[in-house]
């Protein structure tokens, strides 16, 4: 019953023995269809871009699936030889001696269907027309992703994951796994996520989509054919997104009201550091992301609502799950607030499932799930150590 502990700082949280997985290579895997999609449409065939870290044991029981968030991809850890790019997006969590310990686990990470990092998506060539899909790429849902991830598991010979782990939209995929394929995972780790989006969340997504859709360069999604690109729209969408990924307190600490110049300009150009940060993030994002994919992925977020098929009874929905759950939330996350995780936790308790929940103090907002905050790192490490002891 002690008072809250001081806010942990992201330092010295990793053991000194923790190492990088080193140079990695991604692999494009082809799957013959046809693939039926939730929307009623389908794909004749598809590709998934995949990376793996660590060794699969002979029994194939030590595999962990990483599900990425809205704009993530298959490159979760390590670095590419002869590349100056930053290491994978969850590099601080995946590697030898890290929480997702590649000395113990075989870690699988992929770019989801509809993505723009190598898996089939709007940038891929439609085999029926010989042209890029663009806006004609079918709408995909979390269910579709999980179904394709299950096909990937089949391909790798993995009958049952030791754990499926995901943050944010990745947490939704993890939850879907536990409901749709209850016998195919032992543990579900759901971080900074929610059992469905709130209307406020959908509203943010819609404004982001409108930024793109209303950009004259969007050309109804056929920008590639017109040698155009809705750069402004995508930049604005990402800027809006970034506001919701940070917290007010975090922004205060990070930027305050600092300006780039000593004197105010009294012009409309961005002067405050927070403005420049958003512009920088927006522009960096445009260089690596596809606008049609952004539209698809945000829609997948909006549509996710597994309890809808159970008269909105979430506990009835998770009844069929057999996994043990670890649910983590972050105190200053208002995009996927701790209350949303608690909703899921309460449903799991009511359904009599094994569940552990903690709310990590952090002022980093939703972005906290990507940061090596000591308490977060320790809890995840401790949990996965128990998982690794259970492996046969």
């Amino acid at each position: 019953m002690a008072a809250a502990e001081p806010i942990p700082q992201p330092d010295d949280s990793l053991p000194p023995t923790a190492k990088s997985v080193g140079a990695v290579k991604s692999e494009l895997m082809h799957f013959n269809g046809p693939l039926r999609l939730t929307s009623g449409t389908g794909l004749p065939e598809y590709d998934l871009m995949v990376e793996t870290y660590g060794q699969l044991n002979p029994q194939k029981t030590n595999a962990i699936l990483i599900c990425h968030a809205l704009t993530g991809n298959h490159h979760a850890a390590g670095y590419y030889q002869d590349s100056t790019e930053r290491p994978g997006w969850w590099d601080e969590f995946i590697g030898p001696g890290k929480p997702i310990d590649t000395d113990q686990f075989f870690v699988v990470s992929l770019n989801n269907l509809g993505g723009c990092s190598g898996s089939s998506g709007p940038l891929s060539i439609n085999p029926l027309t010989g042209k890029a899909y663009g806006p004609t790429f079918p709408m995909v849902t979390v269910t579709d992703w999980v179904n394709t991830q299950a096909q990937l598991a089949d391909r790798l010979g993995i009958e049952c994951w030791a754990a499926v782990i995901g943050g944010s939209l990745g947490g939704m995929q993890t939850l879907e796994w536990s409901i749709r394929y209850p016998d195919r995972l032992k543990h579900a780790v759901i971080i900074a996520s929610a059992p469905k989006l709130s209307p406020q969340n959908i509203a943010f997504n819609e404004v982001a989509r409108q930024c793109i859709l209303r950009d004259p360069e969007f050309k109804e999604g056929h920008y590639l054919e017109h040698q155009a690109y809705p750069k402004d729209g995508l930049t604005q969408a990402r800027m809006l997104g970034h506001i919701t990924y940070l917290s007010n307190a975090g922004m205060n600490t990070k930027f305050g009201r600092r300006t780039s110049t000593q004197y105010l300009d009294y012009r409309l150009s961005p002067e405050f550091e927070v403005e420049r940060y958003l512009h920088h993030q927006g522009e960096r994002f445009c260089g690596r992301f596809d606008a049609n994919t952004y539209l698809l992925m945000t829609k997948a977020l909006d549509y996710f609502d597994p309890a809808a098929q159970f008269q909105n009874d979430l506990s009835a929905c998770v009844e069929q799950a057999k996994a043990n759950f670890l649910v983590l939330a972050f105190s200053s996350d208002w995009r996927f607030s701790p209350d949303r995780s608690v909703e899921l936790v309460d449903a799991l308790i009511t359904a009599g499932k094994g569940v552990t929940y903690a709310c990590i103090e952090s002022d980093a907002g939703h972005d906290a799930f990507l940061l090596p905050i000591p308490r977060y790192v320790n809890l995840l490490s401790s949990y996965l150590k128990v998982v690794s002891k259970d492996i046969l």
Binding site: M1, T356, Y357, S382
Partner: protein, 203 residues
């Protein structure tokens, strides 16, 4: 395997095999681990201390970060078989309300309490004129987490007023052993009491 702690052995005797146990203020999860091993229970702990939560995770015990002062609304009626609360009721803002909640959720509850009526506390207050500080209650009055201490008579009277049935009780002396004196005059000689209570009319 019998546990070296007599109070936990006594608790385990009252927990039916293969049932659900909710431990309020479960600490490092050792009791839940013991019950799961001895009685094959399906356990869940509620805890607020960060270090304790991590210790539970390390043992593979399911634990929810939860402030007991915020109530137990998240648990539905009669959803648990046994609620356990060891040495924590006196730390709660409104122990009476929590008791009510516990017996709404569980068929029975097992509660351990330090006895503030123990002769050593009485003597301490009588001769020194100051709030008792002892091995079992080591904190000074201004920094103690034990904000609602009671004697065994107080507790039993509260149960009577709340129409709670005392199903069983054990009285251990200050050294946590069963002794003749602590059975004979519990409110004077018992250091720790263990109660099994219910609101059901017949159990």
């Amino acid at each position: 395997m019998s546990h070296p702690r007599i109070d936990w052995r006594l608790i385990a005797d009252w927990v039916p095999k293969n049932t659900k146990v909710l431990d309020l203020g479960c600490g490092d999860g050792e009791l839940l681990a013991y019950l799961s091993q001895e009685r094959q229970t399906q356990g869940l702990g509620l805890e607020i201390e960060h270090a304790a939560i991590e210790a539970c995770v390390k043992r593979g015990i399911s634990v929810i970060e939860h402030n007991l002062n915020h109530g137990l609304e998240r648990f539905s009626d009669q959803s648990q078989d046994t609620l356990v609360m060891t040495h924590a009721l006196q730390m709660i803002k409104r122990p009476d309300r929590l008791l009510q909640e516990m017996l709404r959720i569980g068929r029975q509850a097992i509660i351990t309490l330090p006895n503030f009526g123990h002769w050593s506390h009485r003597l301490h207050l009588l001769y020194k004129g100051r709030m008792p500080v002892s091995h079992s209650l080591p904190h000074p009055w201004y920094a103690t987490p034990n904000i609602h201490l009671c004697t065994l008579r107080d507790f039993e009277l509260l149960c009577e007023q709340m129409r709670i049935t005392l199903l069983d009780k054990h009285f251990l002396n200050a050294k946590n052993r069963s002794s003749w004196a602590s059975q004979q005059w519990p409110n004077l000689f018992c250091g720790q009491a263990i109660y099994r209570i219910t609101k059901e009319t017949s159990t």
